[in-house]
Symmetry: C2
Subunit: 442 residues, 2 copies
């Protein structure tokens, strides 16, 4: 058995997780719309021997774009461009199972995997929000369990399409004129409650067999989907204990489905604000805070709590009668409410304490302090790695790669060069066997 | 008024239009699955100052992949990668309005346009065939007029999304904290028979305003869609007279809709087999023919005629009772049947005469002869340019760029360097005004 390896992934959340990131010195306000921004960060990630870069997605405009950058450019197109400018870094794109067709998603990710020589991952999301639903013919989001049923069937189909070509189906024998061995290309003939897809795929099996499957479900349905299909999960635990519980729960669910726990990695969300001293880090945090318009924070808080913006009075506590929102977003909702009530904070104090947070754990400190935290979580099994969210891009990520990564390397926690070429190899995940070839070999 | 300019586009049809292209000396059998194949041809096209490269598409496996390459890798992903390796060449991808959602297509092409600095075109297709329909939950293709109604509404929505950000909506003022001027970002609130899309788009207006819209409709519905929306059409005329009629019909339809005929370019399909002498070209044609398995040709002919393969006897004429196929493919069906009946050909003779044809006009000859043909069609207005289909890729295209292009340049027909940077500029098409800005200016 080889030693467990730390995995690092960077979330390119437009200009950084801080809503004011685009206003900082060294930031380009137009960065989130500029393909070179993504290319440059990917190159830095490659220099830092990261496992992958990651792009979230939303097929709708965000709230309050008057104040902050938005999820915008389509991730699979961005990553195809980034692939051409890089050599080793893994590339993870988000795509929704609710607003796409499985044949199209299978093709796009298979094409990306061929074009990048096996560096692609798919972050599977089910899209809970209203704005997206209204861009796809609906007046409200698809109900939670329906979304997850559709997602499970969707992923089954995509895997079956990727497997519909055996690995050695392509022949290309110039002398005989045989191009493909059609006995090794199989229709999938899927007929399910949400989809009918005949197949076969029109692309040879991807270099990785399957692009790596990633998920981020916190709900019970989400955990079941992750336990069944995911090879890595993005988690959003606020505390060490919560993270440890989550990792154990997920791995035991996977084990119950007959999967090895080594085949399912937990990557914990980690927002960072780094300074060369703790004071410098705190000053940077303060500077970022000062640049966030109060109006933006109020809108965001009313969105999380799903109450009318007018009900929030800056110098009073939260209203007492805030109902549980009907669907989605419960985790962050509950955490925010509990936090405010525990400290009996005014709205102004609460906003300050949340500090433009993304709902992910934030560490403010020196490279050493951040490396200590990463090491502690990793060694205890609260995480197999981290999905990093730098405060500001590129500056906050440059500092991580130049000052935190060397510490992790010195401690023997993190690679100093790539051993493998594919994302699957970086993550230590096995290449899935093709079910037809396996059957034939038995 | 500036002089009319010849436009040249190359169709990267996997290994070339000849079914045996992949077996020729200098071909790589694996080329159609290799991203470098597309990159290399795009670079050659750029060296030849072509307007664009073009990728057809089909979201299903082709017939008889045992004998020949297939439409495989997804075009928007391929072109995003090609964009990163090129600087000026236009990039045209096919996408279907029948098996996609307008919000997703608007985003992918807008992202491509941003990532390529304005070099993208969208070839709009409606997907008539059975194999694709069976990958998207259907048991037969959507009926012709339904497809075109959906397509027209689809394109209206995509344009409205691209226009939903005024050109100057992005502000990015670090000092005031204003990121976007939200008064210049507009919901589209579309409610139609096929789609409801609220919008606005989540991407600033593309560099070209709209990526260039291309269509290939030969039917009455197809011509109407082209006259209404297309800025270039790919035509498939077999003769000069047919081409002239088609061009005149299309431009008068556009004029009736109030559009300038200069805003709608006709690019005629042109397959080429080139030799340094006519004899050499004919030998190359013969060589390609010898490499096509007879079984492949019989299957293809039975497919075009939509009759059972077993009914074709090699040394007898076609059966007399071949019915008109129920939907789609009539043009090529009729031409093939008329051709066979006129010459009273046996099946063997017919297959030989069709010569692995794609349904497009083929010229076999010297660079001089091909340049003469191009000049004659262009000067008479039978075409504004050509959608080139080399017999073999890359070899047949290298010869065109190295030997035909210089002749066209010497004759003053074709550019020797790029004047513009965007596909729209190469094609001499105006950048569409934004309807909101136009309204405000009035």
């Amino acid at each position: 058995m080889t030693a467990r390896e730390l995995h690092l992934n960077v979330n390119i959340l437009h200009s950084g997780f801080s809503p004011a990131a685009w206003r900082m010195d060294g930031s380009d306000p137009r960065a989130s719309f500029d393909i070179n921004h993504y290319i440059n960060i990917a190159k830095t990630a490659e220099r830092g021997t990261f496992d992958a870069i990651f792009l979230a997605d939303q097929a709708a405009i965000s709230d309050r774009v008057d104040f902050r950058p938005l999820t915008s450019l389509e991730p699979t197109i961005v990553l195809a461009t980034v692939a051409a400018h890089t050599d080793r870094i893994g590339l993870i794109a988000t795509a929704s199972t609710t607003y796409n067709e499985p044949y199209n998603i299978a093709r796009r990710f298979a094409t990306l995997d061929h074009a990048s020589n096996g560096r692609i991952g798919w972050n599977i999301v089910t899209s809970a929000d209203l704005p997206q639903s209204r861009n796809f013919g609906l007046t409200k989001p698809v109900e939670h369990s329906q979304r997850y049923q559709r997602a499970a069937e969707f992923v089954d189909i995509v895997k079956a399409l990727w497997d519909s070509w055996e690995d050695d189906a392509f022949i290309g024998d110039v002398s005989t004129g045989q191009f493909v061995d059609v006995s090794k290309v199989h229709p999938i003939a899927h007929n399910g409650p949400h989809f009918s897809v005949h197949g076969p795929h029109n692309i040879p099996r991807p270099p990785q067999g399957h692009p790596v499957l990633i998920q981020a479900g916190g709900s019970d349905d989400g955990r079941e989907l992750a336990a069944r299909h995911a090879e890595a999960v993005f988690s959003a635990s606020q505390s060490f204990e919560e993270a440890l519980d989550y990792a154990r729960d997920l791995k035991s669910r996977a084990a119950r489905l007959g999967r090895s726990p080594d085949g399912l990695l937990v990557l914990a969300g980690l927002a960072t604000i780094i300074g060369s001293t703790e004071e410098e880090a705190k000053r940077r945090q303060e500077e970022l805070w000062e640049l966030i318009p109060l109006e933006y924070s109020l809108t965001r808080l009313s969105g999380v709590l799903q109450i009318d913006r007018e009900r929030l009075k800056l110098d009073e506590p939260l209203p007492v009668d805030i109902p549980l929102p009907p669907d989605g977003g419960h985790t962050f909702f509950k955490a925010t409410l509990a936090f405010a009530r525990r400290g009996n904070l005014t709205v102004r104090q609460l906003i300050r304490a949340l500090n433009g947070s993304t709902g992910h754990r934030t560490i403010v400190g020196t490279p050493e302090a951040i490396a200590d935290d990463i090491e502690a979580w990793f060694r205890a099994g609260a995480a197999d790695g981290f999905n990093l969210m730098p405060d500001v891009l590129p500056s906050g990520f440059d500092v991580f790669v130049d000052h935190v990564v060397p510490i992790l390397r010195r401690r023997g926690l993190f690679r100093s060069h790539y051993e493998g070429r594919t994302l699957r190899e970086h993550l230590g995940l096995a290449r899935p066997a093709n079910p037809y070839s396996t059957a034939a070999a038995e």
